[in-house]
Structure formats: structure tokens, C-alpha cells
Symmetry: C2
Subunit: 153 residues, 2 copies
């Protein structure tokens, strides 16, 4: 412990190093693909989070985006200006705006989903066996996380 610095717990730390590197590369790739669509990362994320089935209040979107409600105003402004999203009125409470995706928005949203679900090159390069193993391990990881912190709110 004193000589070898941190030998213990090193598997998770090394994994994190690679995880981070792959994530960085992916972020760059995705970012480039999004500019092609004329979308910034937050805009794309907002489009992803919106429910095609049911309109959603601004506040709900802010929560999903982990940012201030006043920030969402601007993001939605730009999306609405391009006709991708509409601010409707919610029934029962005239304060809340019901965010709905327009057909044009759905179209773009589809492309965004495709871009962002595309696996990073590093993962795509793995053997099918490794890919399955990776998926299973990551599935376990998020599973463990969810069962450990279920009462987060």
C-alpha cells in the first residue's frame, strides 16, 4: 500500500480510465454528427427526452436535463423557432406549457436517436462475444445502481 501506491481497487479505476477515453471519443463523434443536423448537444438531448406520446411541462424537461427551468426556456425557444416543438397549453393549469413534438421534430428526433444509439467505434470493434459480455456487465452495473438508490427523490 505504501510502495505500490494503489494496487487495491485498481480494476475499477483502470476500467474507468478506458471508459472515460471511449466516452470522450464518442462524444466528439456524436457532436460532429449533430452539427450536421444543426443541433447542439443540449438541443438533441431535449428532443430525446420529450415524450412523443404525451406533452410534457417545461419543468419536467428541466428535471430530465438536470438544469434550471430558465435555461430550458431558451433551448425550447430555439427548437420551437425551427418548428420542431410546440408549446401547447395544458388542461387544468394555465401556467404550465405542454411541450409537444411536431412531425418535423419527430423526424429529426429519429435521426438523433439513431446517432446516439450507435455504439462507439471501440465497442463496435470488439468480438461478438466481448460485446455480449460487455452488455451483460453494464446491464448488471446499472441494475445494481438502480436497486441501491431507488428513493432518490
Amino acid at each position: 500500500m505504501t510502495l505500490k501506491t494503489k494496487q487495491a481497487n485498481s480494476a475499477a479505476h483502470e476500467a474507468q480510465k478506458f471508459f472515460f477515453e471511449i466516452g470522450m471519443a464518442q462524444r466528439t463523434k456524436v457532436g460532429a454528427a449533430l452539427v450536421e443536423l444543426g443541433l447542439s448537444f443540449p438541443q438533441a438531448h431535449a428532443l430525446r427526452m420529450l415524450d412523443p406520446e404525451k406533452p410534457m411541462p417545461m419543468s419536467a424537461l428541466a428535471e430530465r436535463l438536470f438544469c434550471d427551468a430558465s435555461n430550458v426556456t431558451g433551448i425550447v425557444d430555439r427548437l420551437e423557432a425551427r418548428g420542431l416543438v410546440e408549446r401547447g397549453s395544458a388542461e387544468g393549469d394555465r401556467r404550465v406549457k405542454a411541450l409537444a413534438i411536431t412531425p418535423a421534430g419527430m423526424e429529426l428526433r429519429g435521426e438523433v436517436m439513431e446517432i446516439m444509439s450507435e455504439p462507439p467505434e471501440a465497442i463496435a470493434a470488439l468480438s461478438p462475444t466481448d460485446q455480449r459480455a460487455l452488455r451483460d456487465i453494464l446491464a448488471r452495473a446499472v441494475g445494481l445502481l438502480r436497486e441501491r438508490a431507488p428513493a432518490e427523490r
Copy 2:
């Protein structure tokens, strides 16, 4: 293919879904820890990329940050204003600024490294066996990537 949509290649795609989710959570956690240090993500990243041994030109940092050189000017301005970094002069070419980390910068850099090398909760929650397996698979992934694209510049 027509009925089941995309069944093929789904392992990598599912893996990517989990990968993205873990990455998002980690980004939030790291971001929060960085504000504690009074650092933004780009600033922390810059600090990480600087070489403690050898001063580095602005352009080199811009490359590592994947952004425009003019952007680096501002980021370094703020780091320098806090005494974390110094713009020295490079020998041989009076145009280039040699970026060096100050002792205070090294201190903060250490904390940043620690924060960012901390594995996401999801990964930390895995069994040691899974952690090792994950590390090995990710190591193979970045290895494959590097050997496939060695002549990137």
C-alpha cells in the same frame, strides 16, 4: 429484419445504451465535484492535459482539447488569473507561449485527477470479478481502436 426491427448487432447497441447512461451520471457527479474546486469542465480538462514535466504550446493544448486555439486563450486566461498556470516563453520561437503548471496548479490538478479517475458508482458496485472482466474488455476495445487508426494525423 422487417418485423423485429433491428435484432442483429443488438449487443453493441444495448451496451451503448448502458454505457451512455453510466457516462451521463458520471458526468453529473464529476461536474458537481469540480464546482467545489471552482473549476469548469473545460478548465479541469485543460489542467489534466498539461504536462507537469514539460511546458506546452497553446496550439498543442488546443489539439488535446479538440477546440479552436482562440478558445484556449480564454480558458488559459482564467487559469492564469488564478495562478494555476503560467504563460512562459518558448526557446527558439518567440511566437509560442510555453504553458507551465504552477505549484498551486499542480495541487489542484492532483485533486482533479483523483475526482476524474474515480469510477462511476455503477461500476464500483460491480463484483470484483465483473470489474476485472470489464477492465479487460474495455482495454481490448481501446487497443483495437488504436491499432486500427494509427495514422490519424
